[in-house]
Symmetry: C2
Subunit: 506 residues, 2 copies
């Protein structure tokens, strides 16, 4: 057997273990009875341990070396060369972190999540503070173990976004922030500055659960989600997971009193799901199965949810169908009023409830703060004050309590430092990619206005989805002819869209 063949065989078994872990994770969030939580934790721990042990075996390192010799002449973009490149990257990461550090992180974040839940309920940051101190210290240790040339944030960021750098993010985000703060101010005054908690009518009405579900499934089918190779279920926190390109699970949460949760949440997860279903079957059971990075994944959920699903063209086609789905509910609301309501901009306290414009300010704030913590420019005990000051500066509002402020997200308690910026990266890339598609498919808006998505999906499959993890985000942008990462296409899209919606001074 060649080294490559043995490598693939071992990687296939590891992929199967990881897929099994993903099935157990999906089940935990969808169907698992509450009493099973302890048994399930043990099962997931064992699967993760075995997968890790199989991956960091010495034999794996040898096989990677021998495969490198076998593939010396393989083209960079070939499946085999990409498999070797990405697996070597993963292997180096996995073997650089000592097992005892992995164990300490697992323990600290397990306790940290419990403490965070209690602290958020009590809205008391102090109870969580020393857990977060330990988590930040462990993240620093992890970054040192992984090593870096420039910034300590780099090796944490690249766990989620391979090939990205802190310096590039700072440059792009600085451009974005300078332009975005005045845009938010203009739009908020334009739409009257309605309090964030109040949905603009008619979104504040009650919409039946089954009709919401059916409408969402209908749009998913139109988008091209293949229900022979995937399904949708309900969960408290919507997510997408894939056990193979032929087995992609999306979840949604329907709230009868809040139409956008189910409606746009479904389209968002569908975007993630389309990506996973589009990975070439030849990459199955290898480390190349799945999305290129969190940022690229998010670019696809945002593209389908927002650039398609919150567009005027989309609602030109779907609003009559939405009216039919909810008889008598929307008779007094015309499509333009509905479209405006679905795109209302208003600074608010909670990231996951934010509109597409203010959302990025929530992200940049978190990026700045976690970077400051990691670089020891900010102490954990000063974090709540720093949070509130940044909210005032970025969004012009300040939370009354820590539950609606610094304690709102689970990420830090899980040790996910370097994760937040991928949300905004995805937003920016979605606009870069969408603008590029518009050049190749000049009739794109007409297609969307006719509920016709086959060309769009085919373009994305061909340029992004089928490649799986073969290329980094930067490589993909380059291959697509999008140029380097940039905030400009997204800002241009926002100015155009909200200008048409009556925004003042755009």
């Amino acid at each position: 057997m060649s080294a490559l063949a043995e490598l693939k065989k071992r990687l296939a078994a590891i992929a199967d273990l990881d897929a099994a872990g993903a099935v157990l994770g999906w089940d935990q969030e969808t169907y698992m009875p509450p009493g099973a939580i302890e048994a399930r934790a043990a099962q997931l721990t064992t699967l993760a341990r075995l997968s890790h042990e199989e991956f960091i075996e010495e034999r794996m390192g040898l096989l990677l070396q021998e495969t490198a010799a076998e593939l010396a002449d393989a083209p960079y973009e070939s499946d085999d060369a990409s498999l070797l490149r990405v697996t070597t990257r993963d292997y180096e990461r996995a073997t650089k972190i000592p097992a005892e550090l992995v164990a300490r992180i697992a323990r600290a974040t397990s306790l940290g999540q419990q403490a965070w839940q209690k602290a958020r309920q009590a809205s008391d940051f102090a109870d969580f503070s020393h857990h977060l101190e330990e988590i930040i210290e462990l993240a620093r240790e992890k970054a040192e173990a992984l090593g870096y040339d420039d910034r300590i944030y780099d090796p944490l960021l690249t766990e989620f976004e391979p090939g990205m750098s802190t310096a590039l993010l700072e440059e792009v985000f600085a451009d974005l922030r300078d332009e975005l703060v005045p845009i938010v101010e203009a739009l908020s005054s334009a739409d009257g500055g309605a309090p964030a908690q109040n949905m603009p009518p008619p979104l504040d009405r009650r919409y039946g659960e089954q009709a919401q579900w059916d409408f969402g499934i209908g749009v998913m089918k139109d988008f091209g989600f293949d229900f022979d190779r995937g399904r949708q279920d309900r969960s408290a926190h919507p997510f997408t997971t894939a056990f193979a390109a032929s087995d992609v699970r999306v979840t949604t949460r329907i709230d009868e009193g809040f139409l956008p949760a189910g409606l746009f949440g479904t389209l968002h997860e569908c975007g993630h799901g389309l990506y996973e279903q589009g990975v070439a079957s030849e990459l199955g059971r290898t480390p190349l199965a799945g999305g290129a990075s969190l940022g690229v994944h998010e670019s696809q959920s945002r593209l389908w949810e927002i650039l398609v699903g919150r567009s005027r063209a989309f609602w030109g086609h779907y609003y009559p169908l939405l009216r039919q789905a909810f008889p008598g509910k929307l008779g007094d609301v015309d499509v333009d009023a509905f479209y405006a309501a679905a795109n209302a901009v208003c600074p608010s306290l909670i990231r996951v409830e934010a509109d597409e414009v203010t959302y990025n300010l929530h992200i940049m704030l978190r990026f700045e703060l976690e970077k400051a913590l990691l670089e020891e420019r900010l102490a954990v005990c000063d974090l709540p004050d720093a949070w509130n000051a940044a909210m005032e500066s970025y969004l012009g509002i300040v939370p009354d309590n820590d539950a609606d402020g610094v304690l709102q997200d689970i990420h830090w308690s899980m040790g996910a430092i370097g994760y937040f910026p991928t949300y905004t990266l995805g937003t920016l890339m979605s606009a870069q990619i969408f603008a590029r598609i518009g050049e190749d498919i000049p009739e794109l808006q007409e297609h969307i206005g006719a509920g016709e998505f086959t060309h769009l999906l085919a373009w994305l499959q061909d340029n992004i989805y089928r490649h799986g993890r073969k290329f980094t985000a930067n490589e993909l942008l380059d291959r697509m002819g999008c140029g380097e990462l940039s905030a400009e296409p997204w800002l241009a899209y926002i100015r155009r869209k909200y200008g048409e919606l009556g925004g003042v001074g755009l």
Copy 2:
């Protein structure tokens, strides 16, 4: 670390792998999209392979020897001594069968199942014949590898029913058959010999799916099934699986045109589920978690489904509730008429649709035939004729085609030789156990008639469920004071029940 501690640690990881495989198996039958079948097969194969490899490691054999020394003075019935005893039994089985034989069996049964499905659809035994020949030959090889003192059937039987012997089964089944054939004749003439395909009224009416589901869930809750530690879902072929005592999944199949399928199927699987939920938590993540044997498991599904759920006392309480569940549907049918319909006896061709009386004749026929194949007293090519002759002799009817005859069951195509008798073993044990409970709980029938099952469940938990796999069926019967395995208690129950129902000559 003591040898016992290391043994437990290794067994816990294996239990987690097996539980993960069970989750994937459950998902496959309940929610998995059809396109995922190939990916899922690979995942399940990897999990099974890793579990097997971890179990048959040399280190495991050493640990078992060292643990035996450590536990020399441990009482037979202690958890630790039982763990050692049962694990040693499993280890010896697992290590006696060469890996290449395991692989040949896996291949032959995989192809065999596909061939069986096609053959059954075409009702053509010839297409399946040479597959079955190979499967029987491999079963013989497996039996030789496992070794036996008396009969070649023994080591296959004990895979499913540890501690049981072919000779004992033959003795008990011979008693049963001699008495059962005339009983069936008497009952069939008594109820007019209605054709098997026609359900007796009112079971032939249509019953709404949701109301059937809700009624079943209500009875499950009354029985004591804990929905915090388990759930029910839908599947084409109802089954029960457990990932832990705190995570027990039962499934059911609701047919609006055939009430008994959902109704009694739900109670049957609930019985399996109560057993799994009752296993002591200390046995979790060890080979002792789960039921003692297939026979003992079946005794519990039959006890709850039939001895409780098809009894006159049960329907005295639940018939008014069933009427409420289906308004206007059963107004013209009194409880005695419903009870008689739910217990109608009639020889029929298909095992899984048979009533409780004729069911055992279906099993004994299969036991005789598979034994004859294995002992080379019957050639596979002669099996269809032998099947039909046995049907005539046991049940007085002969199928028109092989699909309704020798091809109806999946078991042989899966290589499950020695499995069938556990169904009748379960039936016989259920009556032995139920009679014994009647001595300890004289008010048992009154409890059932009041929809009150806490005493019954507590007795079963204390005497059977909590022990998991610690004891064999024979050991459990002995500990409960049931005496040896015997057909008499079941025959007495049948004579009493059907005598009261107007059976002639009982």
